[in-house]
Amino acid sequence: MLLKELSEARGVSGNEAAVRDAILSAVRGYIDEHRVDALGNLICLRKARRQAQPGSPRKVMVAAHMDEIGFVITGINSDGTLRFGKVGGIDDRILLSKQVLVGQEAVPGVIGYRPIHLIPKAERERVADVSKLAIDIGATSKSGAEKLVKPGDYVTFRTTFEILDEGGLRTVKGKAFDDRAGCAVLIELLKEEYAFDLYATFTAQEEAGLRGARVAAYAVNPEIAFVLEGTVCDDLPKKKDLSPVTEVGKGPVITLMDRSFIADRRLVKLLVDTAQQLGIPYQFKRGAVGGTDAGAIHLTREGIPSAAVSVPVRYIHAPVSLLSLVDLDYTVRLMCEALHTLERGLES
């Protein structure tokens, strides 16, 4: 399964090569041109296959980010353990005792911590100081560790992709569904024919501050942009009747507003109308949390009308995330049909 391959590919911000290669081999038969820019964005062009109707845009960009959160090795201790720093937004409380893979050679390791027997009660009630944590790769000396890894090596969580539920919502678990889910949707969109040039842009360094999208949008200079994401999902039981941000199994998520942008109202209407015509479920993202590449893209040059569509993903920015393939398939259908409708132009 393509999503399994994408999820298990290792690509922390700034080091997206393995993800890029996996995507390129999946899309090569469907694109007319591609290039990798200076920041590592993979920009694929699928040219218009039909005559454009009046009002149709000529150039549409759809973006999904390749990078995932992770760590980078900052030094090697005399006992052979590795110091590390975080890349992207990671909650310190999730780090203890997690399995990781270090560097190009995927050296296995664990973020080690003393067992409960040795930790005084007061310390157990505090979050461990991340600056005192280290990755243990089983080396017993600095020189031993140096044979396997070096400072600057990137580190990912070690998580295998698995299907959890064959029927029903067809849920799966794996790492980095933020945003390999978006990459998977975008790859499917490249298999369709459009009346405009589609720039499928797989961006770098989103988790480090929307950096790839900023330069890619400047270069592509599209008339309209969509961003595909694996977004925050928060549908576990709550004390109060407050809203979940999104819910697994309730369909593609349309963003009205988040911390990084306010979606173009015409594009939101296009997406909602399309979902209703297709008779597929959709949900608005509730609560203006998080940000996406749309934050950078819509502010490019003189401004680019932008929208974001996401697959709801539980436990993002953690070692294991969970999504429903039903949601993912609906997201493909929604986006595909919305792009075809866009060929008739945007209602103002």
């Binding site: 009747d241 407050l242 809203s243 009205l256 942008f261 608005f284 509730r286 609560g287 203006a288 003189e302």
Partner: protein, 331 residues
């Protein structure tokens, strides 16, 4: 000018929903400008061509105001909401908001009658739109509201919601209408989405590519009881920004403002704002960098439903901006 201010402040226009304000301004200035267009994000860009020999100047005032966005509707028809821009929960309780479709909501707090409750948090607030059991509320998830308050003319002082920054829009519109001749190509830009991160100014400045930028916006004051010290007060004239938390004003632009105020013989004050930013910062950092400054209208109770300005300060700002635009620019 009070009639103009009343129209502008009472219009509905939270960030991202500036259409009503834009249509209103377009109607006010049509026939007084040489070109007018709306860009991709919704900025209204109007050009008054100069007679030659001048500079390309961008004058910006933002159309948007802070507001609320509905995130959840419960079984009884009460709404939970998030904020659009910098809304203080404590300043909203008991207030009213209005949606694009005219629906009115009252803001309630779960702990209203609890003695010694802490300051409210957003999660404890809710909106009551008058829904009765069994009926559908008039608004739903994703709908956006702004504060609802009428304009009040107190004589010298004026109070309304959204003085930030409709008073800036009013100053810019009035200046445009009063401007007889100018050597400069003046782009009057009414920007969107300032309250959520100076976004409209960012892209419109890229499009206009000015040689000089001037934002017109409100600033805080230090003239109320036990206020945090700040040497800006109502009634002492328009304020010339020196810095805020997002910008260090180009000294040439600042001095151009000071010099012009002195030539006119009008009152002015210098502004150092410790927390806050305006479109000035976005204009300044567009393309290769643009000398930019800000003409500020002192305003009490910023980001509450009752923002108060002094009419003399407003008129001073119109005089100062008009004089600046009418002649050659030296910075």
């Amino acid at each position: 000018m009070k009639e103009l201010i009343k129209k502008l402040v009472e219009a509905y226009g939270p960030s991202g929903h500036e259409t009503q304000v834009r249509d209103l301004i377009a109607d006010l200035i049509r026939g007084h400008v040489d070109e007018m267009r709306t860009d991709n994000l919704g900025n209204l860009i109007a050009l008054r061509k100069g007679e030659g020999g001048g500079k390309r100047i961008m004058v910006a005032a933002h159309m948007d105001e802070i507001g609320l966005i509905v995130t959840y509707v419960d079984k009884k028809g009460f709404l939970r909401f998030g904020t659009v821009g910098g809304v203080f929960p404590i300043a909203t309780i008991g207030g009213r908001v209005r949606f694009a479709n005219g629906a009115i909501g009252v803001i309630g707090w779960e702990k209203w009658l609890q003695p010694s409750a802490e300051r409210p948090t957003l999660e404890e607030l809710f909106l009551d739109v008058g829904a009765v059991p069994g009926s559908q509320p008039p608004v739903g998830v994703g709908d956006v509201a702004s504060f609802d308050r009428p304009f009040v003319d107190m004589g010298q002082r004026l109070v309304a919601k959204a003085m930030d920054d409709r008073i800036g829009c009013a100053v810019v519109v009035q200046t445009l209408l009063d401007l007889k001749t100018t050597p400069n190509d003046v782009y009057f830009v009414f920007t969107v989405q300032e309250e959520v991160g100076l976004r409209g100014a960012w892209v419109s400045a890229f499009g206009v590519e000015p040689e000089v930028g001037i934002a017109v916006d409100v600033t805080k004051t230090g003239d109320t009881p036990e206020a945090h010290p700040m040497s800006v007060e109502l009634g002492s004239g328009p304020a010339i920004k020196v810095m805020d938390s997002a910008v260090l004003v180009h000294p040439g632009v600042k001095n151009w403002m000071i010099r012009t105020a002195q030539e006119l013989g009008i009152k002015y004050q210098l502004e150092v704002l410790e927390a806050g930013g305006t479109d000035t910062a976005a204009i300044q950092r567009t393309r290769g960098g643009i000398p930019a400054g800000c003409l500020s209208i002192p305003c009490r109770y910023v980001h509450t439903p009752s923002e108060m300005v002094d009419y003399g300060d407003v008129q001073g700002a119109v005089n100062l901006l008009g004089k600046m635009l009418a002649g050659p620019v030296e910075i």
